[in-house]
Amino acid sequence: MLKPRIKLPETAKAGDIIEIKTLISHVMETGQRRDADGKVIPRMIINSFTAKFAGKEVFSAEIQPGLSANPYIAFFMRVPGPGEFEFTWVDDSGDKGIERLKLNVVA
């Protein structure tokens, strides 16, 4: 899987509610389309996304074919303190994209 793009605030304080923006390149083939020979193009989508912070799950998504290609997902988190994010995307082939990113927590 291609490298995702993540946008975090540059700094955050414990207790702040911050927005996390994520974007990953993926064809998100719905399984509804046909190729030039009329054969169905098999479904191939990212079916799950999980965001953990300091080892604890904060947000996740079960994704179905209605989500657009190159899924963009933005969500919020209340900062519990310093820590590192771990974002995981999994597609129908079992291919995983994992990205770890430290949040700059200031006093």
Binding site: I17, T30, G31, Q32, R33, F53, K56, E57, V58, F59, S60, A61, E62, I63, Q64, P65, G66, L67, S68, A69, P71, Y72, I73, A74, F75, F76, M77, R78, P80
Partner: protein, 161 residues
């Protein structure tokens, strides 16, 4: 002056023609999936909604599904979901389910929150095959559900058509 008038008429005629075309396309597309379905079964989107609600009746509450009224490109229609919730350990939004009523497959996504989310809010982008209603169901930590729907007009469908 004369030049300007001509332009004005042309624009008006174009607008009328374009509207007619969109209406005809919407009718043609609407007939498609319905005809292909077994008449005794409820529509797929209704089945998807029933599966989420499991017999529960949605209650009134502050739930917002924000989408453009008119989507020019059905391949990528931005949406924002938000609910008014304190997001504490005992009172939070567990999940938000997005269901399309007019796509070949009704499922869009289920977003799952935790009290650590801080805010019941998510934004993303979805596919819309044609003009249709989009349904948002929020599942609360006390087992109740909130539901809202919104109509989006689609000029170019986003399901490979």
């Amino acid at each position: 002056m004369a030049q300007e008038r001509t332009v004005e008429i042309d624009r008006r005629q174009f607008a009328v023609g374009a509207l007619g075309g969109v209406a005809a396309l919407a009718v043609a597309l609407a007939a498609g999936p319905a005809a292909a379905q077994d008449a005794t079964q409820p529509p797929l989107w209704q089945q998807a909604v029933d599966k989420i609600l499991k017999g529960a009746k949605p209650v009134q509450g502050k739930l917002v599904l924000d989408m453009p009224e008119i989507a020019e490109n059905g391949n990528t229609v931005p949406f924002t979901l938000s609910a008014d919730s304190p997001m504490t350990d005992t009172d939070y939004v567990k999940a938000m389910h997005v269901v399309s009523t007019g796509n070949p497959q009704p499922g869009v996504a289920t977003f799952k929150f935790t009290p650590a989310s801080g805010k019941a809010f998510v934004s993303s982008r979805m596919r819309l095959g044609r003009t249709q209603d989009v349904i948002l169901i929020a599942e609360l930590s006390d087992g109740r559900f909130l539901m809202t729907r919104r109509n989006v007009k689609v000029t170019i469908g986003g399901c490979g058509g």
